[in-house]
């Protein structure tokens, strides 16, 4: 024991040594932390810059070939791009790049998934935060979070192998890969994020509001929809928006479940194709530097803008809650 116990002198010099190392390391560690913080912004900017740059030739008609030399390439007809339902990129006669059907595909699948996921998610959040007690609450929370951990390709697989024949059986449609299938799968995928964000919002409502409602004679249901919903509405809205963002951005599951055929949807039993799935399926085959290639990146920019607007809105709304909370 006596060997391991340092004398006062050596203890002192040891401490001074450590202090020197700490003094030296401190700025380095601060720098590292700064870098970590900024890297998120740098990466996002870099990705946006790259996607935007790759899509630019389709808009300007000018492409840099290298060595500072620009070449003229075919320009994309932006009116056709936004209004035409025809997406025929590989046509030998006349390739057409219209994303209207793809946007409507994304929109219809997302809307249907939200119609299913919002009531389900809010209901689950209300149950977990207000009604479930003790162990059942903890188990539910873990299970719901586990739902978020299922890879999207597994969801796609479920849509393809389980939902597809079920939809055929129940509705009598010839194929079960359609808006309904993708909408349900996407709804199940968005539920966890809606539940966890809206549960946080509900739990952030001060207990005094609940007591106010109960003391005035509200039963539990009235307390939820007359007191909690108005009090937590910003957080609940943010939860829904994040769910929508998840829906718009999802690729693999919708690629597998929608039927992936370019189609203007007229009913929920129509197969459609989404913006994301188009990029995923075609980018590998598009000729680099080709119009098709640039247009796919332009679709990426469109998705980027969608996601950015939705996330920003959600973020501003959540910030709004905090400002009110400080009152």
């Amino acid at each position: 024991m006596s060997e391991t116990t340092p004398t006062v002198d050596s203890d002192f010099s040891l401490r001074r040594g450590i202090q020197k190392v700490v003094d030296f390391m401190e700025p380095a560690i601060v720098g590292l932390i700064y870098l970590c913080g900024w890297s998120a912004i740098i990466f996002v900017m870099a990705i946006f810059f790259f996607v935007f740059k790759e899509s630019l030739p389709a808009i300007t008609g000018i492409e840099e070939i290298g060595g500072g030399v620009d070449a003229e390439v075919e320009k994309l007809d932006l009116v056709e791009f936004t209004t035409s339902p025809k997406w025929i990129p590989e046509s030998a006669k006349k390739p057409t790049f219209g994303i209207l059907a793809l946007m409507l595909g994304t929109l219809s699948v997302t809307v249907l998934s939200m119609v299913i996921a919002v009531p389900l998610g809010l209901g689950a959040a209300v149950y977990v935060s207000e009604f479930a007690k003790g162990k059942s609450r903890e188990i539910l929370k873990v299970l719901i979070e586990l739902l978020a951990a299922i890879p999207s390709v597994v969801w796609g697989f479920i849509g393809l192998v389980v939902m597809n024949p079920m939809i055929v059986d129940v509705t009598g449609e010839p194929v079960g890969l359609n808006i309904l299938n993708a909408g349900i799968v996407l709804a199940l995928m968005s539920v966890p994020i809606i539940v966890s964000v809206s549960e946080d919002a509900l739990r952030a409502v001060p207990d005094s509001f609940r007591e106010a409602g109960i003391a005035l004679g509200a039963n539990r249901w009235e307390m939820v929809y007359k007191v909690l919903f108005p009090a937590a509405k910003n957080g609940l809205l943010a939860a829904v928006l994040l769910g929508i963002g998840r829906g718009i951005g999802e690729t693999m599951a919708v690629l597998m479940c929608t039927g992936h055929s370019v189609n203007m949807p007229t009913s929920i039993f129509d197969p459609v194709r989404t913006l994301t799935a188009t990029i995923a399926a075609e980018l590998g085959e598009a000729v680099r530097g080709d119009m098709h290639y640039h247009t796919l990146f332009l679709i990426g920019v469109v998705l980027f803008v969608f996601a950015f607007v939705i996330n920003l809105t959600a973020d501003l709304i959540v910030k709004g809650i905090k400002v009110q909370g400080n009152e």
């Binding site: 005094s208 609940r210 003391a215 005035l216 004679g217």
Partner: protein
């Protein structure tokens, strides 16, 4: 003792209350309450008279808030609460199976320690209780406005907020919020108003105004008020109940309790020697 005697001369019992003295608003008999294994109320039997202001005093953890929260059964929202004994409010045992908790809470209103107006407009806050009891569906728009005006006038808030009834109630000052919390009980025409340290979040000026308001509620409503503030108990109550460790130690007229406490513990507490 002499200082107490001189100061308490301001709270002389008005003769009006004596004639009401026999009519009871709340009666408990052998009331016991447990939170899990902890017994918070022990064999509490009190008679709270109608139309006066009764104060519940005692050191922290003595069960005064617990007792108050029994009167509208709001205690029951925590799962681990168990009670035995009777509470009769307006000649009806509130633990009877045919009692509607909703109706009970309609006639027994509650004001909390921290003002808790709901995050909706001032107007909607006043009407919130009526909305729950389906009482305002039959009212026209102008009748609703009258209800709101009357309630706000009664708590002396009308002139301050009449131009911004649509503003969120949480933008009011704490004193105004607390008045609003009292105002929202009034359209339900309660018999009893329970107050759990209603002034503890307010500044001196707010306390004075809210106390004046509580004073004005006497006669029309039975007010039961929990307070930590001895000066307030003396100023604002007609009778006082002193509690200690879940038991009622003394219940008498405020003037008598502060002049001439019957128990040594009461005397020590109101003189500030502990608690």
């Amino acid at each position: 003792m002499s200082t107490i005697a001189t100061e308490s001369s301001t709270t002389q019992y008005p003769p009006v209350e004596i004639s009401l003295a026999d009519e009871l608003s709340i009666q408990t008999r052998g009331l016991n309450l447990w939170y899990g294994d902890f017994q918070a109320l022990m064999d509490v039997s009190v008679n709270i008279k109608k139309g006066i202001i009764t104060g519940l005093i005692g050191p922290s953890g003595c069960g005064k808030t617990t007792l108050l929260r029994c009167f509208n059964r709001i205690n029951e929202r925590y799962g681990n609460v168990r009670t035995t004994g009777d509470i009769e409010i307006l000649d009806k045992n509130i633990y009877d199976s045919d009692v509607s908790v909703r109706q009970l809470r309609r006639s027994v209103g509650m004001v909390f320690q921290r003002p808790n107006p709901l995050p909706i407009s001032i107007f909607d806050n006043v009407l919130f209780g009526m909305g729950l009891h389906d009482a305002h569906k039959s009212l026209s728009r102008s009748e609703r406005a009258d209800v709101v005006e009357m309630a706000l006038r009664e708590v002396d808030l009308w002139n301050t907020v009449k131009d911004r009834l649509k503003a969120r109630a949480t933008t009011l000052t704490l004193e105004q919020q607390q008045k609003l919390c009292i105002a929202r009980l009034l359209p339900l025409k309660p018999d009893i108003i329970l107050m759990d340290e209603p002034c503890s979040a307010l500044d001196a000026e707010g306390i004075e105004k809210v106390e004046n308001l509580i004073e004005s509620l006497r006669d029309e409503y039975t007010v039961v008020i929990v307070t930590h503030n001895m000066a307030q108990a003396r100023r604002a109550t007609d009778e006082c109940i002193f509690m200690l460790l879940g038991e009622i130690i003394e219940h008498s007229k405020t003037s008598e309790m502060f002049l001439n406490p019957q128990h040594e513990k009461t005397e020590m507490y109101i003189q500030g020697r502990y608690g």
